[in-house]
Amino acid sequence: MQYSAFQIFKQTLRGHVGWKPTWRSPDPKPQYDYIIVGGGGHGLATAYYLAKKYHGVNIAVFEKGWLGGGNVGRNTTIIRSNYLLDANEPFYEYSMKLWEGLEQELNYNAMISQRGIINLFHTDPQRDAFVRRGNAMRLHGADAVLLSQEALRKKCPFLNFDNARFPVLGGLWQPRGGTARHDAVAWGYARGADQHGVDIIQNCEVTGFLIRDGVCTGVETTRGQIRAKKIGVAVAGSSSRVMAKAGMRLPIESHVLQAFVSEGLKPIIPGVITFGAGHFYVSQSNKGGLVFGGDIDGYNTYAQRGNLPVVEDVCEGGVALMPMIGRARLLRMWGGCVDMSMDGSPIIDKTHIEGLYFNGGWCYGGFKATPASGVAFAHLLATDAPHDTAKAYRFDRFSRGFLIDEKGVGAQPNLH
């Protein structure tokens, strides 16, 4: 069913009885060509691109809970491609290009909104590092603009320029950055995948892998054994737990990233703004809520909830940077369990087990990667070769020393 204003008009006249389910609820078949474990953003995008590009293949997505219920459903919705390193920037820029056409591609309005992202800097060395990054972005074909303090005053007069502990000196602006309606991204991909014949099996947990002689031939699920030629795991947040079922240890720790939303407010903040002298970033949703967050809590946890020190730290940063938001109220706080990898960058790679493929380690930045991750993982699954933009995201980079460490903090996940 094609979505459009005309369709809405037509269905309204028919009393909305004609809307079809956005996706089917099929029973799992005993065998597939490909199984994707994890019905979050990355898993659904992978299934979508696999099905779209490789017609006639049988694909299933298995989701333990409800689709989109992982980190795609609990993030701060930011899309950007403002990375420094050669291993990252082409991938995220590719993702940005996919975002830019996604709604038309999926015929689903995921409200991709390129209102820009500004990283503020507060010291000269920080400015130098941002200039280096901005130039790297430009050399990779992305957009980046250096904003002076004067330019920022015009764009964001509400920032605290004059009596701040760490004065704002300027910012690195990516005009094409912005936000997307996170749930709708999952739904759009699910709908698209479903239309291409992918079976999306919700409420069906993968409880084990069928592995013999180093070859994975299927999965154990709460609805029985399902065979497949290739199995791709995309369960960021639970990667270690799931891959442990295949006997693998990963260069990943699970941490909680908290996020916050305020009560609805009339539009006051343009785009996304990140504070360079504290842990705070913010955007304003289309419903008017300030969506903001900061640093991870910093200890291993699977509890999907955080503690007060980070809540206070984030709000301190927010009020320090933009004192006008102080009287708004924080409506809801939540925590998402994220895969913090050992160098802060993801992994999209084959495992040492034939037929078993892995996608994870997205740290707190997986949402913006969703489209490119889907394409790259689909490419890897289909061809056994890494996608051009994701060649560096290998398991062996840690043992070989080809680390992708944007922050330069080393093998300590809670610092990335």
Binding site: Y3, E312, V319, A320, I325, R327, R329
Partner: protein
Amino acid sequence: MSQTYRINGGQIDRSQLIDFTFDGKRYQGYAGDTVASALLANGVKLVGRSFKYHRPRGIFSAGSDEPNALMTIGEGARITPNTRATVAEIYEGMTVRSQNRFPSLNFDILAVNDVLAPFLSAGFYYKTFMWPAVFWEKLYEPMIRRAAGLGALSGEPDPDQYDKGFLHCDVLVIGAGPAGLMAALVAGRAGLHVILADEDFQMGGRLLCEHEQINSDASLTWVNQVIAELSSMTNVRLMNRTTVYGVFDHGIYGAVTRNTDHLAVKTKRPRETLWRIYAKRSVLASGATERSIALSNNDRPGVMLASAVRAYANRFGVLCGKRVVVVSNNSDGLRTADVLRAAGVEVPEVLDARQLVMPFDIYGKKAVRAIKFSDGRKVDADCIAIAGGWNPNIQLTCHKRGRPVWRDDIAAFVPNKDAITSEMDVAGAANGSFSTHQCLHEGAQAGERIVRALGKNAATVDLPQADDQPFEITPFWEVKGNTKRAWVDPQNDVTTKDIKLAVQEGFRSVELLKRYTTLGMATDQGKASNVLGLAILADCLGQSIPETGTTISRPPYTPVTISAFAGTSRFEHFRPVRETPSHNWAKEQGAVFVSAGLWNRAQYFPKPGETHWRQTVDREVIATRSSVGICDVTTLGKIDIQGPDAGEFLNRVYANAFAKLAVGKCRYGLMLREDGFAMDDGTAARFSDTHFVMTTTTANAVSVYRHLEFCRQCLWPDMDVKLISVTEQWAQYAVAGPNARKLLQKIVDKEHDVSNEAFPFMACGEITVCHGIRARIFRLSFSGELAYELSVPARYGDSLIKALVSAGEEFDVVPYGTEALGVMRIEKGHAAGNEINGQTTAKQLGMHKFVSNKKDCIGKFLSGREGLNEEDGSCLVGFKPVRQTDVLNAGAHFIGLGELNNAENDEGYLSSIAYSPSLKSYIGLGFLKRGQERIGQEIRAVDLLRGTDVQVTVCSAHFIDPKGERLRV
């Protein structure tokens, strides 16, 4: 119209008449009124507009669960949007405005959305606004954004003060209704430290709103007696206007007290105080919230919760209508009619939903006019009191991911006993026990349990006699058969049709339903709508409610002011400031300061007549290089390392060898992380066989110290070595320049020989200065000149800098700041934070010879990995513009001459730049692929952000005195 709906009774203070305005119009109420009760007393029905359809909205509840009556309160920078009228106390001169309407509440243009409502079904926006693509940001989205949102911020900084506090107690009782009061009484009498917190300004909970009897007195008499007794106990702290908003790990509760919002004159008191309460135990006695029933047009102003109608009558002496129809599915709701009739209200019809006749539709746009029944009768009414059952306020039991369980007998979720830790007891209505007797009983029991658990003896507390009517309910959620819309979430305009459509479209999980329809995502966090929505979903799916699921709630219980979380950490006080002992001296010299982490360091010392910072810095550099300069380097990390194994310890934590460093000598040290990348650099000076003093960079002082303690305690616990950070104990100054020694000799006490022979380059020693002041001296140079670092106990720092400057007068000594320091280190080719940035190796920094082959050290093994030793890897070299007048920019990337500006041709970047007054040209340090092999070649430094493209020559990083002769004279 003046309080025409006011009746006798209630707990308002009629001696205090209060004036306030609503949308510019003056009204009066009494002390003890909320904005809601005062508006109702004045007959105001229309108070707001809904989020999506801009439908007229009236007051719905009498508590913090209010979804409709959101107000913007206050003026100027104190404007506070989205304040629930049902909890905001009125004060003299209060300004209240409705929100989300244009041009006026009465006539709102966007009410056209209601007409278009058939087209604006659940999730319609996901299906349209996609064509043409560019219209989204340009047209559709701005339009949607303008229409959305609730109230507006002032845009000005929040002018009020906020504070944070920490409280410790044996038991925290949350809610001061009958259960909470009883629990606090039992615990208090047993001598426990008790905190009793209630979100309301008045304690008593539901007893404030009902005319009941306890021990054959009015229940309020009992409430007042208990509060009086609790107030008299020194071990009990009563906190009203205090919301316990969240439960965190290990008995930590978040709470917020609103101190001044109810005051007409804002004092200097903090507006709110954010508490972290550390409690051994807690009792959740948070009561219950009534819910509505979905029926056509049940969102009209005048359709209210029955319990709220009773609360306004009993507590505030206000009638919500003069002709009220009661619709109830339970025994409690039916009491409303009696209360209202006793107050003289006409109650033409009481509809027990357990009977055959149903309510069918409600008439009236901006105020209810009539109700129609399924038997066709239409009854005039100006208020409909709906009682759909009670939801225990179990939110706080979910904050640690506890999942509630469904109880069929009360048709509600109650806390799951297994999911609640031993930290928290639940009592009374929050536990699904609704009669006053049950509340008192469970409160007492909870109190007794905790008293015993904490090892005290529970004094016997006689359980007061109170009402114990059983609560009977027949679940009834939705009136079917009417094609008009019936509201489930009144704020977000989610109707039963939306839920049905979502299910039809496959959004069958309650979480998907919430996200697709926005059900329960409003500012009431679903208090008004979640259970009702879930019940309707269950019905659509043909499942029971427990089969369908639940939604757990997350903190905060009610929205909390962001400023309260920030507390005093705002403006200049966002983070503490660290100042060196000679900070005030530098300030007196007119220094400009710069942040280095938390430190404020002197950046440069402008002199009169200098109009640009470059003039100052150039002067400081030239003066230092030609005579002598002094720089405050106190901020460097300093770590005192002592013990027989100190030498071996340093040998293992530094890449280069230290064990054999002679006493009286310093050595430059490079520290690696275990992954082989450079972590930090600094020096270590050996004062004895068993005593070293290490310096670190300012930025890494804390992390290096932590790392060293890790190595000592976790890796080599039997090494006989101890560490302590002495960064703040010693003030340290660099004295640099050809006249540095001459200057020092004037203040170093005569018995200490600092001549070149006695005290050569890299020597260190413990000496005295200025007639007996203990000092340490290190012959180290960051500037490349003859230089020393002199440190004294911090308390002498201020005197020492003055002594140095005064001794240096004859040499025209200059103080120099971090800028000149930076220029000179770049001229000398020393790597600093821009180079040792955590992403570079010893090899890249040109320091691979430092990594000793003879011993193991942290990071050595993994520094040998392939990726850290690439053949065409980049390395640190110097750069000079080909045209001497060209300006270099740090962050520019290197592109070959004539090559296209793209990532493939990217060969590195400029990490640090400076104008060198010595070379009269810009110079830079940077990382270039195979840089060492390319000395003398030309390349372009391209800064696309600033639009510069400068041809540069690759050169040695050592721009000045490459052989290091000046250091040694």
